[in-house]
């Protein structure tokens, strides 16, 4: 692959340029940082739950909540319906808590953070302290306010730093780690935590409820348009640790926020578990854009190692005219099990889901969405693009449900699958439930291979085969890439090409 040249605008940090450049290789995030870690003992029992709660200095109600979840989890069985196959996970062979030693005391500012940690983030390409201005797109003469991104970074189990606090405070936006939120805003956390994804929702969500270590918390007060994009970067560093983060975003009346999420992990030949829960609450006229670029280590060419990504994400459009948009680019993880959903409760609320899922080598992805229409005149749109290469299996699984009271609602679903190579699989499992006649539901799905004519054309223009495939695939994904915020769109486009490396020929 040719080096990726960035048309650098003035004022762009060299670090950012390098970060973008570095995307044009294979899995670049495969290093690990040698940082002294503070582990909880391996395994899972009530004491571990208590320990996690204690480490985070949590109030009694939080501990009780966790313990209730844990008690429930012990009675639950691991779901087997997804089209993914992997050896049984030994839940006792995991660390449920790992914290960089230097974080035992929370740093007052980023200056207090272990330089090694900061180095880690530099490698990740997140200029924590810098404005994240990207190159060459849009006619942005100067970096305007909108190009700022506030970042909360979660390293193994702990949130290590959140930028732009002051500016956010001015706008009234609360953006902090969930452990801080439990301390500082217990009334909000108590009110909303678990209100979208209940404690006992499913096996992994319940596990998360019991042992979640940290995550991000956002509250946007009524009428506020969050002045910058908020971002969380998740990194699993330590070996054999599970990462269980919990994100809670509350968008009050007429508020707006755009939230970005990125994930990476080192290359290890043992599997690592990631079971996150994301809850979004939208009141009247609120809008949330939630974008994910998931690039966890997918395992090596032989399918060894990698992350098991079992995530529960759900948005509750409680308010009338609220709108939520999930956009995801899933290129990493050995096994993905993820269905960002929308509960369209408020009248005239809208849910959108745009997804690109790429599975190469031995990756397995079972992903999709649920659109539950409860309110009148609700609208939803699903665009899912699945790409399989190598020996990978890629499944779209989705639900569109129109309840009897959801009059005049509308859904459009399109899921397309692309197969590259004859050893992979692409599957579609939609559930469509329509219980009233004033709603319209349309579902369309196609499966095809990369068009030979298109490939031939690209090659006749001098591209090598991999570039040509990357271009065709990017074209296939265009509708979804366009839905991403600009910074992510570029990264995602590169990721698409990288993930497919070695899949041709």
């Amino acid at each position: 692959m040719t080096a990726f040249d960035v048309d650098v605008k003035e004022g762009v940090d060299q670090e950012t340029v390098d970060a973008v450049k570095s995307l044009s290789g294979t899995y670049k995030h495969g290093w690990s940082t040698d940082i002294e870690m503070d582990y909880a003992p391996k395994g899972l029992n009530e004491d571990i739950v208590r320990l996690i709660s204690e480490k985070n200095n949590e109030p009694q109600w939080m501990l009780d909540w966790r313990l209730a979840a844990f008690a429930r989890w012990q009675q639950m069985e691991e779901p087997e319906w997804a089209m993914v196959h992997y050896p049984k996970i030994d839940f006792q062979d995991q660390y449920y808590y790992a914290r960089p030693k230097s974080m035992a005391e929370k740093p007052k500012s980023l200056d207090d953070v272990d330089p090694k940690l900061l180095e880690t983030y530099k490698k990740l390409g997140i200029p924590l302290k810098e404005q994240m201005i990207l190159a060459g797109v849009e006619g942005a003469e100067n970096a305007d306010e909108n190009r700022k991104v506030a970042v909360d970074a979660v390293f193994d189990s702990v949130s290590v730093g959140t930028t732009f606090q002051a500016e956010l405070k001015k706008a009234g936006v609360i953006f902090c780690s969930i452990s801080d939120a439990i301390q500082d805003h217990p009334e909000l956390v108590r009110k909303y935590l678990g209100s979208v994804v209940p404690q006992s929702d499913n096996f992994y969500a319940t596990l998360n409820s019991a042992v979640f270590s940290d995550g991000s918390f956002v509250y946007v007060p009524p009428g506020v348009r969050c002045p910058m994009e908020l971002s969380t970067y998740f990194r699993i560093n330590a070996e054999n640790t599970g990462q269980f983060e919990r994100t809670l975003i509350i968008c009050d009346k007429e508020a707006y926020v755009s939230y970005l999420e990125g994930c990476t992990a080192p290359m290890r030949d043992t599997i690592q578990l990631h079971a996150a829960v994301v809850e979004l609450v939208l009141l009247d006229d609120a809008e949330i854009k939630y974008s994910t670029v998931q690039n966890w280590f997918p395992g090596d060419d032989e399918g060894k190692g990698g992350i098991y990504n079992f995530v529960t994400k759900r948005a509750d459009c409680r308010g009338d005219r609220s709108k939520v948009m999930w956009t995801q680019v899933e290129t990493g993880s050995a096994v993905t099990w993820k269905y960002p959903s929308c509960i369209l409760r408020g009248d005239d609320s809208q849910g959108e889901f745009y997804s690109i899922a790429i599975a190469n080598n031995y990756q397995q992805a079972d992903t999709g969405t649920k659109m539950v229409h409860l309110g009148k005149n609700t609208k939803s749109r699903i665009v899912s693009k699945g790409i399989s290469a190598g020996k990978a299996q890629n499944t779209y699984r989705g639900l569109v449900s129109m309840h009897p009271k959801a009059k005049n609602s509308r859904n459009f679903t399109q899921c397309d699958s692309l197969l590259i190579g004859d050893k992979c699989g692409a599957h579609t499992v939609p559930y469509i439930e329509v219980r009233n006649n004033s709603s319209r539901v349309e579902h369309e799905a196609t499966t095809s291979k990369v068009d030979d004519d298109q490939l031939f054309y690209c090659r006749s223009r001098g591209m090598d085969e991999e570039e040509a495939v990357a271009l065709v695939v990017n074209g296939f994904c265009k509708e979804v890439l366009q839905a991403l915020p600009m910074e992510f769109a570029m990264e995602a486009q590169q990721l698409v090409a990288i993930s497919l490396e070695g899949s041709v020929g």
Binding site: R440, T446, T447
Partner: protein
């Protein structure tokens, strides 16, 4: 894995109420194997993945619930068609009402007779396709049928059948529980059309196993009976050889519960399979089409077209799956399921699935649900059509795509007349 207690109890109770018929050693063996399968998988439960939209309880009970017999003065279905008629009354063969079982190029026998013969071709088909069809999705009611079927028709087609063979199922006893099992073997280059119609019984469990050899053709047109209170679970299992053709169309009007499963295996290159259905339901009508198409050969074509018109609390279910195995390159798979909901109480539940392991394929599925297009209705009314007629016209045009799947124009015509009559009867 042992069955959950709930399932094993229901299964045991049902089995206890049935008697396995006598027959030659091969038939007994096939029935015992099927019984084993049934005991292993157990009768369906509404928590089973493929029964999530249809509650199977009334199909599982030891005795069939009573179902009133519907008398009508309408002309019999397929009445105008030249056919060889075979009549079953409440699942019992009626020799007097049936035609003589002779037809050039076709051997026709009762299952009861065939099962007594020590050497019979039926041995290689009875329960064979049903057993293959149990994976990856279990079809317990079909296994039950193989184990306990009381009668049926076995047909071997060696040439071009001059007339369609027509199975007529009459319902006279309000508490009848019929289990029929038919076999059709279409030899190389042979051709048969099979017609089926009638309510059959209060509860009807029907299995049809069809083996189509290379270049053979099998056409199937079925009209499921008018008796509203009847319950039916039907299965078609078919395996297709090279360049063979299989086409099946089902029209369902009324019926408190109908579950039609169709399991198609394309095992020879260049084979074609079309399966289509039109269903009209009013009130406590529940209709379920469950289709599973497996492509296991090169350059095959499969097509599923299902249309349902539902009103007044009626429920339509469609579960269709196309599985393209790795060797099945150049597959062309198509699937469409559409529902027209005439009022707000009706519901349509669909699960159109694709599972694809070959890369050089074109597979697509579509599913839409909605009400009658007001603009189209307005247009027709502006042309002077009364509202009812305009609506009926739109419903018929909606169903047309499914009706077009029938090859024989005379049969299409017959079906269209039935639909028009149903619509006229159900006008408000």
């Amino acid at each position: 894995m042992a069955l959950p207690k709930l399932k094993s109890d229901v299964t045991a109770a049902r089995i206890a109420a049935l008697t396995m018929p006598d027959g030659a050693a091969w038939a007994q063996e096939a029935r015992k194997d099927a019984l084993n399968r049934l005991q292993t998988i157990g009768l369906p439960h509404r928590r089973d993945e493929y029964w999530r939209y249809t509650t199977p309880d009334t199909l599982n009970t030891p005795d069939a619930a009573d179902a009133a017999v519907f008398h009508s003065d309408e002309s019999p279905v397929f009445g105008e068609i030249d056919q060889l008629k075979i009549v079953f009354v409440d699942g019992v063969f009626d020799a007097d009402a049936s035609d003589d079982l002779t037809l050039a190029g076709v051997e026709i026998e009762r299952l009861e007779t065939a099962a007594q013969a020590d050497i019979h071709w039926a041995r290689d088909l009875y329960g064979v396709l049903e057993s293959r069809g149990q994976t990856p999705v279990a079809r317990p009611l079909a296994a039950l049928n193989t184990a306990f079927s009381t009668d049926g028709i076995v047909i071997r087609v060696t040439g071009q059948a001059a007339r369609p063979v027509s199975l007529v199922y009459l319902h006279e006893d309000t508490s009848s529980d019929a289990i029929l099992h038919h076999l059709v073997k279409v030899e190389q280059g042979a051709n048969l059309t099979l017609l089926e119609n009638g309510p059959a019984a209060s509860r009807f469990n029907n299995v049809l196993e069809v083996e189509v050899a290379d270049t053979g053709t099998f056409n199937h047109v079925r009209v499921q009976g008018r008796d509203h209170e009847r319950r039916a679970a039907t299965h078609i299992f078919t395996r297709l050889g090279r360049e063979s053709t299989f086409k099946s169309f089902t029209l369902t009007v009324n019926g408190v519960l109908t579950r039609n499963e169709c399991v198609i295996e394309l095992t020879g290159d260049d084979a074609v399979a079309h399966v289509a259905g039109a269903a009209l339901g009013d009130g406590d009508f529940h209709h379920d089409d469950t289709v599973f198409v497996t492509h296991d050969a090169v350059n095959c074509e499969s097509r599923q077209v299902f249309k349902k018109v539902l009103r007044n609390g009626a429920t339509g279910v469609f579960q269709g799956k196309i599985l393209v195995k790795n060797p099945a390159q150049k597959t062309d798979g198509y699937q469409i399921s559409q529902a027209l909901l005439l009022d707000d109480d009706a519901q349509f539940l669909a699960k159109p699935e694709l599972e694809i392991y070959a890369d050089d394929v074109v597979c697509s599925h579509g599913s839409t649900t909605g009400s009658i297009d007001d603009t189209a209705l307005f247009y027709l009314r502006s042309r002077g059509l009364p509202k009812d007629e305009a609506r009926d016209l739109l419903v018929l045009s909606f169903l047309a795509e499914a009706l077009e799947e029938i090859d024989d124009p005379a049969l299409t015509e017959d079906m269209t007349t039935r639909l028009e009559a149903w619509l006229a009867r159900h006008r408000r």
